[in-house]
């Protein structure tokens, strides 16, 4: 991207939130170093953000949100309802069709082995997708969620292995903050 086109405010926001990769972050820092306009809006944003954080209204908003979260109770478990009753019925019907269809072959002395394999395969596939796939999905999704919480700073990073002495909390789970101040913005 040439210097003539400044990154959007969303891009800077993502950069400040640490969501961009190493290469993109380096490019943005280089841009800020060479672009007067972006550097100024980054400064405006940094000052404004500090003022915003100090505003009393903000605490009230957060308190309201937390009250709301508690009312709603724990979030519903994810991954539980991947397969509704309808899905189970559909897979059952499909498996039954394969079994009935290949039953014709059971009478044939040569191909009856194939028929047995088809029937057993239909049953096994149905059971696997009913039980194994949701479990795999759930464990993968949980891993992604843990990474996200770490980025948000609400979950400590896993301790280094092997654990050696007391582990300093926080600080280790985020890449070093870029030297350049935050993002550009056209507003204000």
């Amino acid at each position: 991207m040439s210097a003539s086109r400044c990154p959007s405010e969303l891009t800077w926001t993502r950069h400040l939130a640490g969501e961009l990769g190493w290469l993109a972050a380096r490019r943005l820092r280089a841009h800020a170093a060479g672009c007067e306009g972006c550097r100024r809006s980054l400064e405006v944003m940094a000052t404004e953000r500090a003022a915003f954080a100090a505003e009393p209204r903000r605490r009230r908003d957060l308190a309201e949100l937390e009250a709301q979260a508690q009312e709603q109770g724990p979030a519903p478990r994810r991954g539980q309802n991947l397969w509704g009753l309808a899905g189970l019925a559909a897979a059952g019907v499909a498996a039954a069709a394969v079994i009935v269809g290949s039953a014709v072959m059971l009478a044939d002395p040569i191909f009856q082995g194939l028929a047995v394999a088809l029937m057993a395969g239909a049953v096994a596939a149905t059971l696997l997708s009913r039980y194994a796939v949701p479990v795999l999905y759930y464990s993968l999704a949980r891993r992604g969620r843990a990474a996200e919480l770490q980025r948000e700073g609400t979950l400590a990073a896993p301790p280094p292995w092997p654990p050696a002495g007391p582990v300093p909390a926080a600080a280790s789970d985020r890449p070093p903050e870029p030297a350049a101040p935050p993002a550009p913005a056209r507003a204000s």
């Binding site: 003539s4 086109r5 959007s8 405010e9 969303l10 891009t11 926001t13 993502r14 400040l16 939130a17 969501e19 944003m45 404004e48 953000r49 915003f52 954080a53 209204r57 903000r58 908003d61 957060l62 309201e64 949100l65 937390e66 709301q68 979260a69 508690q70 709603q72 979030a75 519903p76 994810r78 999704a141 992604g144 969620r145 996200e148 919480l149 980025r151 948000e152 700073g153 609400t154 913005a185 056209r186 507003a187």
Partner: protein, 163 residues
């Protein structure tokens, strides 16, 4: 979402979202309300949020849709919104829109009946996002984003000439 997770989200993203809302709504108080509404939406539907790779992008999209709803609901102040958006569009270097064209585009965003297209037009003409970024925000392919934006622009300018 535990209260601690909400706290983290709020601290990290509230300012950026407030800015985003203020830019669209042109009003700090209303922007504050809209920003809070974004977090309420996340609370109501945490599963949608949890699968995202980029929290900023997702929240930015939710904020844009909520703000556009608010803008549509307040017909009285539309003149001011249109003028300000036209200025923004006109001021962006890569978009060779002249002032009249920028006004037509701003008016067309307000008139647009389809909320998704209106949001895409805001991303492109007001925020200057790349088509890749827009595609990620609205969950369409880059090609369809491009096609929809061309169609939007064509319709906006045709209608402007007819008027």
């Amino acid at each position: 979402l535990t209260p601690a997770a909400i706290q983290g989200l709020y601290e990290r993203h509230s300012y950026a979202l407030f800015r985003r809302c203020r830019r669209l709504l042109l009003d700090a108080d209303e922007a504050q309300d809209a920003m809070q509404e974004v977090f309420l939406k996340v609370l109501e539907n945490p599963t949608q949020f949890l699968g995202r790779s980029s929290a900023s992008t997702y929240l930015f999209g939710v904020a844009t849709n909520l703000c556009l709803n608010r803008i549509r609901n307040r017909a009285a102040r539309d003149g001011r919104w249109e003028a300000s958006v036209a200025d923004t569009i006109h001021a962006r270097p890569p978009e060779p829109a002249d002032a009249a064209e920028a006004r037509q585009l701003a008016a067309a965003i307000l008139r647009e009946a389809d909320p998704e297209t209106a949001a895409m037009a805001v991303y492109h003409f007001v925020d200057g996002l790349t088509q890749g970024e827009i595609a990620e925000l609205v969950g369409l392919s880059r090609v369809s984003v491009n096609r929809r934006l061309q169609a939007f622009r064509g319709a906006a300018l045709r209608r402007g000439e007819g008027a």
